[in-house]
Symmetry: C2
Subunit: 575 residues, 2 copies
């Protein structure tokens, strides 16, 4: 039987509870958002004792289903002021699922000015005071925990950025190679920092397999599902070969690659940072072009990127990070970007928020455009040390804009806009505007249909069909984010008829239930509505479903502008 | 005939326009809020080219009516995100009125990275590039302008804080003694800085008297009105003798003196900073206990506060500033507070926002509680020099809270809560919560009736009657803020039956109209509704009409908590 593990940091007590009936069918984002909506006052201070940090593995996590090892983390976001779910690979989702942990809920704030660690075992959670690792980076935490326990230990930790409660702080999660994946967006590391938890270890001793109600059906469906992943040109070929960074050249070609803090739509140096260049560099230096963020991943969009001497530099080196420090900050040195990626993992800061922020910091004159060495220095010496400048930067894009009076600040609901110009790829603009998460490409990844011709084609430069596209993808993503599946399964799900039925068959075989496709759609809708209701109760409203004013300026090469009316955007919520 | 003077900073042109019919009956706040609502997109960036900065003298400014020399300044606030009006004494309201300038509207943003000055004469406005005074304080600007023109020149300027567009920047205005008064709240200095205007001079050559339709009636009403001011114990005696700082002991006694960043309601060292102590110190050092912020002021709540050697240190030394650096920051040295007041005037930052901010900065550990020398250093070396720390501090209370992850952040709509604990003086809490201006005691000064027994008595510790009290006072204040009258005329207006009719008689005699008391009430309501509609369109809603969570904690000595329900607060807008 699955359980809810609960930790109260105010009185330093823990408990193991039955799963309430109405949470039984939920997992991942569906569960974290339901718990946050049920237990957190939307008007509370996100870093105060009313907020709760919730971890939940997906419904299929821990099973043999391909790409099902994603863990969701939810809370009220100190960055957006609304609800937040951020999911990640690594090992914790699978460990939790095998240990029968439906969710871990952390509430309250310690009364003393001390930091703590949590250790999660089959018996529950124990709390210990932590002093030694304070101020240390996430790599040091993982190393120390593997030394203390063993290689199998799961680790979720915050770096100095989270300890200092900066609102771009993320939560780092150990991956199968003892490297780092992140609950990146929305400042969840600051929430963990406010609760004064430096790290959480997960020790699975005594755990078994995830129970499957109908193993034969599961196995059959799982095979079909896996085949659709491998058969799809993006999931089975593009992503494994070039990683997500395959998108640099594609978006540049489409004129949707935001350049120099969103003042241009393409960059003449795109080749320097492209997926193709990266692939060749990796091969040349003896790295790995394919790599999974969690066990059982077939897409393998990650990689191992080595430095010039062939030593490991970083992995999980994503398009959005490379775009941001590259095109948006005009840094044309992939090695510098890889170094920054590694530092961001170590100090514990969202790499998307941070690269978007640096574009604004450059516009503010804090450092010149193109100054990659300056970014490395600011990450290490200012943000990583929580200096005043570091705090301005470490609180993200909007924070820098506010402190320096910049008006070109690409954020929605205070969260940085990533990697795809909403003027030239209008569907993603609708996602940025309306997502309950603030600007978040993964919330409804219209790039699939606007740019990659997956699931048909909706012309990225025209308004027609974008709201419907974004709505359908946001509903589907909310459901997928509840299964523990990687969002990239959406590619085959949109194109290959057998994919989605196989996914539903796996869910049904796992739990002995009879979900239909409509049920899954209803689940997605219900999650979005729960999140939207939370946000409205927190003071966000349709005026916050808007892109910044500066997107009315035309952007090259298409002279595209953001031209949706308020009514057109608000129609998103008509479902 | 009165005119609208308009300046377009984008193309550096100016014009003189007829006053539109529907603006003819408006002045001060009524006019600035009407113009902002009519011409500014509520969703624009407050520091972008869509915002406008509007100055308008009150309806009675420039006449012989006592206390009528207040100038309103309005814009979308970069601090609150809503509409803002901030009014001030000094000389500009009377100069504008005598020059026939109904309003000065400044729009657009310069295309080049240069600063400018404006010179306002009877003929219109001229724009000149400014280089010499950049980075200089407001006292230097006034000195330079008096040297360039003469003693009669009116000056409105920003200091380095406004140049750097920090959101607590104010606009300084020369007073009759060539000292400084401020359009203090809401970051209007940042708007002026965004438009790259270092200062505005007002040269009245050729101006005449304000036309009075019925001089005899005006003179008679004016005499009655003046007598009511002098006859009232607060306006005629308390304020002239002790200044607004008479309130330290009164609020301390009432348990409503927020202490140590709002963790206590009284302070054992209140005597060190009280109005009585200040009065004796002023007398001892040969300063002035009475002083007006503008010509024709009968209340004379200002003063000249000298240093130990008898040299001028500051004037316009207000309760809210003294409370904040005193009780809220635990600085018990009135001379240090006076020095801070002078520095804040010089660098151009709202002294209320700044002292509230320092309470949070002390809680954040940036400097210890009680460290007055630290405050002086941070004002001069960090805020005045726009360092990164200075920018965090100079963007106000919420900015520090955000950068340092503090949860005890006394703000409403991002603006710092002044000087009166809303738990122990509940009426003012309703004003803080509901005012269109963000937390602003002057928007509906319930202290009159909650504490000073003016206009009756409503028990400050009980909820009964507070919403109605605040509503009535906010409506009245909006109307008074349109006349050019100082808000302190509310004291006799509430207590002495002849006061308000005399005020209305003056308005009628000035314009040859037939306003009734009901008309004035309707004007106040209409202004509030115009402002509220702007705020709603800017994305603020009733969830922003709330006090911070921490006010649920009880505060000594009454163990008072903030206990209004959402419905009770929202009922404010039922009119």
């Amino acid at each position: 039987m699955e359980k809810i593990f609960r930790v109260n940091m105010t009185d330093l007590t823990t408990s193991v509870e039955e799963v309430p009936q109405n949470w039984l069918g939920l997992g991942g984002r569906g569960l974290t958002s339901t718990i946050v909506a049920a237990e957190v006052d939307p008007m509370c201070h996100a870093l105060g004792d009313g907020n709760k940090l919730v971890f939940a593995p997906g419904l299929l996590s821990g099973t043999a289903a391909a790409n099902s090892g994603r863990m969701s983390c939810g809370a009220k976001s100190p960055l957006t002021g609304g609800i937040k779910e951020s999911n990640v690979g690594g090992t914790t989702a699978q460990l939790f699922a095998k240990m029968g942990i439906k969710a871990l809920i952390i509430e309250g704030l310690p009364q003393e000015d001390k930091f703590y660690s949590l250790d999660v075992t089959m018996n529950g959670v124990t709390i210990a005071e932590e002093t030694e690792l304070l101020g240390k980076g996430n790599f040091a935490v993982i190393e120390a925990m593997e030394a203390k326990y063993d290689k199998k230990v799961g680790v979720m930790s915050i770096g100095p950025v989270g300890e200092a409660k900066m609102t771009a702080a993320n939560i780092s999660v150990k991956d199968p190679d003892s490297k780092i994946r992140s609950h990146g967006r929305g400042g969840l590391g600051a929430v963990m920092g406010s609760k004064k938890i430096k790290y959480i270890t997960v020790n699975p001793e005594g755990s078994g397999r995830v129970a499957i109600a109908d193993p034969d059906k599961f196995k059959a469906a799982s095979r079909v599902f896996a085949k659709t992943l491998m058969d799809h040109p993006v999931a089975g070929e593009g992503l494994p070969t070039f990683g997500t960074n395959i998108l640099v050249n594609i978006l540049n070609e489409a004129g949707g690659l935001p350049t120099r803090n969103f003042t241009d739509g393409s960059w003449d140096k795109h080749d320097k940072i492209s997926g193709e260049t990266m692939h060749d560099t990796i091969v040349e230096r003896g790295g790995k072009t394919k790599h999974g963020c969690h066990k059982g991943c077939l897409i393998q969009c990650s990689q191992v990127y080595n430095d010039k001497d062939g030593n490991y530099l970083t992995s999980g080196f994503e398009y959005e990070t490379i775009w941001g420090m590259g095109a948006d900050c005009l840094v044309d040195d992939l090695d510098q970007i890889a170094q920054a990626d590694s530092i961001m993992d170590d100090i514990g800061i969202d790499s998307i928020e941070t690269v978007v922020m640096f574009g604004v910091a450059m516009e503010a004159g804090i450092l010149p455009f193109g100054d990659g060495a300056g970014i490395l220095r600011l990450l290490r010496e200012e943000i990583g040390k929580a200096t005043p400048l570091g705090r301005i930067l470490g609180c993200g894009t909007a924070s820098v804009g506010n402190a320096y009076g910049v008006t070109r600040v690409p954020v929605v609901k205070n969260q940085g806009i990533p990697a795809y110009d909403p003027r030239s790829v209008k569907g993603i603009g609708i996602t940025y505007a309306t997502s309950t998460m603030g600007a978040d490409h993964t919330a409804g990844y219209t790039i699939a249909t606007n740019i990659l011709n997956v699931g048909g084609f909706v012309d990225p430069l025209k308004k027609e069909g974008q709201v419907e596209l974004s709505r359908n993808l946001q509903i589907a993503s909310a459901a997928i984010d509840s299964t523990g599946m990687c969002i990239f399964i959406a590619f085959p799900a949109l194109d290959i008829p057998e994919c989605l039925p196989a996914l539903i068959d796996m869910l049904n075989a796992r739990f002995g239930i009879e979900l239909t496709g409509d049920d899954v759609t209803e689940l997605g809708k219900s999650i979005l509505k729960t999140e939207h209701a939370f946000n409205l109760a927190a003071g966000l409203n349709n005026k916050h479903d808007r892109l910044p004013e500066f997107f009315k300026e035309p952007v090259l090469p298409h002279n595209a502008v953001w031209d949706f009316s308020d009514e057109e955007i608000d129609a998103f919520w008509d479902f």
